[in-house]
Each structure stands twice: as structure tokens, then as C-alpha cells.
């Protein structure tokens, strides 16, 4: 299921996106924007943030540097 979204985006971003679509890196603007949003959400996920904090705990307590 997909939900229509209306938004304002800088024209330089749209131009760069259109160039990628023309070069065959994405099927269309909808796919490209969904992929960009997916990547953003992946890199800012709660699970990832907490994994990094637990990495800090291990390094802080048991690291060697």
C-alpha cells in the first residue's frame, strides 16, 4: 500500500534525482524518493542507535585503547 504525499523539495535535489533516473539508477521519482527515505530511516533507527550505545559500553569497559 502506498500513500500519496505532497511536499516541496529544492529544485537542485530534484534535478539531481532526475539525472539518476535518466541514467537508469532508479525507475522513477517515486521509487527514488522511497529508497532515499528508507535509507535515512535505516541510518537513524532506534535499534541502530542503541546498538551503538552498547558498543560504547563494551569499548568503554573492556577496550584496550
Amino acid at each position: 500500500m502506498s500513500i500519496p504525499v505532497q511536499t516541496q523539495l529544492p529544485d537542485n535535489l530534484i534535478n539531481q534525482a532526475q539525472e539518476l533516473i535518466k541514467a537508469g539508477w532508479a525507475n522513477n521519482l517515486d521509487d527514488l524518493l522511497a529508497d532515499a527515505l528508507r535509507r535515512y530511516l535505516e541510518s537513524h533507527s532506534l535499534a541502530l542507535s542503541e546498538k551503538f550505545l552498547l558498543d560504547d559500553v563494551q569499548w568503554g569497559l573492556h577496550g584496550s585503547d
Binding site: 537513524h44 551503538f52 560504547d56 569497559l61 573492556h62
Partner: protein, 173 residues
């Protein structure tokens, strides 16, 4: 007053988060344990704007650094992929230009992006806990600081995760 334990030969590059959060806990001098602390000028200016007293401390042992090389193609791609902020971008530029052992940031996207420049990454929590094994602070002092995080800092931690971390620190030896 934080006691330092000279001997670390680690060169670090700092993002704004750890500088601000450590200062909120009055623990910024923990960074003085590293042999060099490099702060990108964008980060320096950001901290100066929001927490000028932290920069006054940093002046004593940190260097304000400006990247000299243009962004590499690899970093340009990384920046777009991870939607990084100006300070994080400069930090990665500096890591590409200078030999760096550790990048300090509390931002998840910046931590992921740092994988592209092959540098070890940790954050405020890591520095606080490292202070125990570096004998800069006692375990009890660090536990008190961890408990103070929700009230004294702008570092966001899920309460149950913080409780779990505090238990792990109390149980570790």
C-alpha cells in the same frame, strides 16, 4: 576535577555531541587523556554558539582544524547517502586528511558514515566508561554521572536502556 592519566597516544576527531554532553556533566577534561584532540572549525563554532564555556576549556588542549582538501568523491557519495550535517562532513574530511585513531560522535548516521573512512567510532557514553579503566574516575563516580544523564544533559537515552547500562557498569570489574 578530573584526574588525567597520561600515556594514551590516541588522536581523536570530535563532533559536537560528545563535547557538549561531556561539558553538561562537567567531564570535558576526560578528553585531555588523548594525545591530540582535533575539532573541526564548523563543530568548534557550533559549540561556541551553544555552549561557549565548553570552548574555553577546549582551548587549553584541543586544536581547531579546517580541512584543506576538497571533498573526495567517496565522501561526497557518503554525505548524500547519510544526510550528514556540516560538522560531521568536516570531521570526516579531517579524518581523511590526518592520521586519526578515533572519531567521537553521538550521531548514528555519522557513525555509520565513518565506516567509509575506516576509523573507530565511539560516543559520550564510551568516553565516560573508558574513564574507569583509564583511572580518571572511579566506578562509583561514573555510575553517578550515568544517573545524572537524563536531568543534566541533552543526550537522549531510553530509561530502561540506561538502567541496563548502569547495572552492567556496577557489575563489571
Amino acid at each position: 576535577m578530573v584526574q588525567t592519566n597520561p600515556g594514551s597516544s590516541i588522536i581523536v576527531v570530535c563532533d559536537a555531541g560528545p563535547v557538549i554532553h561531556l561539558d553538561e556533566l562537567d567531564q570535558l577534561p576526560l578528553l585531555n587523556d588523548f594525545s591530540e584532540v582535533l575539532i573541526p572549525d564548523t563543530v568548534w563554532n557550533e559549540v561556541q554558539k551553544h555552549r561557549p564555556q565548553a570552548i574555553e576549556l577546549c582551548r587549553q588542549w584541543a586544536q581547531k582544524v579546517t580541512p584543506v582538501q576538497p571533498l573526495s568523491a567517496k565522501l561526497q557519495a557518503t554525505i548524500q547517502l547519510f544526510s550528514l550535517h556540516a560538522g560531521e562532513i568536516q570531521a570526516l574530511q579531517i579524518i581523511e586528511e590526518h592520521p586519526t585513531d578515533l572519531f567521537l560522535t553521538d550521531d548514528s548516521a555519522a557513525r555509520l558514515a565513518a565506516g567509509t573512512v575506516n576509523v573507530k567510532v565511539h560516543g559520550t557514553l564510551g568516553i565516560l566508561l573508558r574513564a574507569i579503566r583509564r583511572q580518571q574516575l572511579t566506578r562509583q563516580q561514573v555510575v553517578s554521572l550515568l544517573k545524572a544523564i537524563p536531568d543534566k544533559t541533552s543526550l537522549h537515552l531510553r530509561p530502561s536502556l540506561l538502567k541496563q547500562i548502569i547495572s552492567e557498569v556496577e557489575d563489571s570489574s
